[in-house]
């Protein structure tokens, strides 16, 4: 659907995006694009949409105007009600658009129709754009920080709703976020960006195996715990946690047994995007410094 051979975006003299390795986005993919602020996530989207000038070779099987996009910031006029705004975008009355009627019901948005955009809450504003974006029925949809500005529960609920809506559809979805937990149940592939460059791209499970091993055990960081698990292989983790990597079933059993013996609470997982990305980034930085 989209094949990037190389892609560069400059903001003045600053190289904001520098993709050198081939990337392919296929039909039906559920891709999470992750990275810290300034990693180039939104710049990549803007380059693909032609919003910012870019250099490189990108092949797209879908016309730009067919791509549906939920931008990070979506503003609308405030001089008329949301209903008329939606009808202008749809080019028809809401009642004549069964998909939108269903989406309004699905997102519990009916009461917001008579309000103006500036009278909507943060969550309602996000839902408005979501309804309009989803109603485009596009083969390729980008969601850029769709949950920004929302509280934890609203974020989770919104992602769940999006996931539910697209469950049986073959649209390609790209979810740009810096909230890793949003992607745990949503993304099948991950594109990890840092400082405008690609750290890695691939299947979520494959990336986890590559950087974390078969499974990891996550425990709280403390001096006591560090002493107990010192003989196990530790990988990078956020400062308040420790991650123990198991390469096979035997190692898993040993770690689990030790943790149980010492009454240490743990989480065993074979999918943790945050810890995977921390380790991917560390390895990438090491390799870059050696280049």
């Amino acid at each position: 659907m989209i094949h990037i051979d190389s892609l560069k975006v400059f903001y003045g003299d600053h190289l904001a995006l520098n993709i050198q390795q081939p990337l392919s986005i296929d039909r039906g993919d559920r891709i999470g694009v992750i990275g810290a602020n300034g990693a180039g996530k939104t710049t990549l989207l803007h380059a693909l949409l032609g919003i910012v000038p870019s250099k490189g070779q990108v092949r797209m099987d879908v016309a730009r105007e067919e791509i549906a996009v939920h931008l990070q910031f979506n503003e609308y006029i405030t001089t008329t009600s949301v209903r008329y705004l939606m009808e202008a975008v749809l080019g028809t009355r809401i009642e004549r658009h069964p998909t939108v009627m269903a989406l309004i019901e699905f997102f519990n948005f009916k009461d917001s129709l008579k309000k103006r955009f500036n009278q909507l809450s943060g969550g309602q504003k996000q839902r408005l754009t979501l309804i309009l974006v989803i109603a485009q029925n596009s083969p390729l949809v980008f969601f850029d920080e769709v949950t920004s500005g929302l509280d934890f529960e609203s974020r989770q609920r919104l992602v769940e709703l999006i996931g539910e809506h697209y469950k049986d559809k073959d649209s390609t979805l790209c979810f740009i976020t810096h909230y890793y937990e949003e992607l745990e149940n949503f993304a099948e592939k991950l594109l990890l960006l840092h400082e405008g460059e690609v750290v890695d791209f691939g299947e979520k499970e494959a990336l986890f195996h590559k950087y974390c091993g078969r499974t990891i055990f996550v425990i709280d960081r403390s001096e006591q715990n560090e002493a107990i698990v010192q003989n196990f292989r530790q990988i990078e983790a956020p400062s308040y946690r420790m991650a123990l990597s198991a390469q096979d079933e035997e190692q898993e059993k040993q770690i689990a047994q030790t943790l149980i013996e010492h009454n240490i609470n743990y989480k065993r997982t074979s999918s943790d995007i945050e810890i995977m990305s921390v380790n991917a980034l560390k390895r990438w930085e090491k390799e870059r410094s050696e280049r």
Binding site: E75, I77, T79
Partner: protein, 254 residues
Amino acid sequence: MKKMSKQFLFYELRNLVGNWYIPFFGVAFPIFFSMIIGRAVLSEVPKAQVSMVASSIMLSFLNLLPLAVVFLGHCSLYSQELEKRIPLRMQLFGYSPITQVKARMLALMVFFTVGLGVDMLVMSFTLKPLMPNIRGFFIVVLFYYLMGAILFMLAHGIANFFRRFGPAYGVSMTLYFGFMALGGMMGIRVEQLPEVVKPLSRLLPFSYAAEDFVKIWQGKPYNYAPFLQSMLFLCALSAIVMLLSFRYRKTKAY
């Protein structure tokens, strides 16, 4: 890309009406101002000339419509929208920049036509101007539409250049009152303007509309050359501003 729908046109119309300063400066303000100035001026005019002066006042204040509705209205609305990146949002929903501009132009034209009709009707009752010659009437109305088209380019250029409401509104307001003053619509007639300002006033079509249109309105012989030159000058100036803004922003539409 989507074509302009009826709903999109209504959306643009609601957007125009919803911004209070467009109906206020474009429809209510000319009526209000013409009544105040009309009352002051007409009381001092010999009876035989009252209708002619009343016509002159009406035609002069109808000048405010393209200025307020199209120039001020589009400049302020569009700069706000650009600042909020609404045109980009609409483009991503499938409306090309050209379609968006066309819809805005059409909505302005509808609003302008209604406003012109209302203003003419109300002023006909309040000022009691001369009945127009049919040809003269159409020439005058055509002028207002042409002026609207020219001022649309100027407004588009200013809004696109700044892409922020504050500076765009400041510049457009300054020009609005400047055009009014130079066109003899601020209580000082063109011949009463300082000598140094008069050539500038004659360079712009507003002064002709205020001073000479009464002749065209009545169907009297009129030398159109200076007036057409002033129209061409403003048209060229507006086109240059618009094209420079496109060049500056490296875009063809917004």
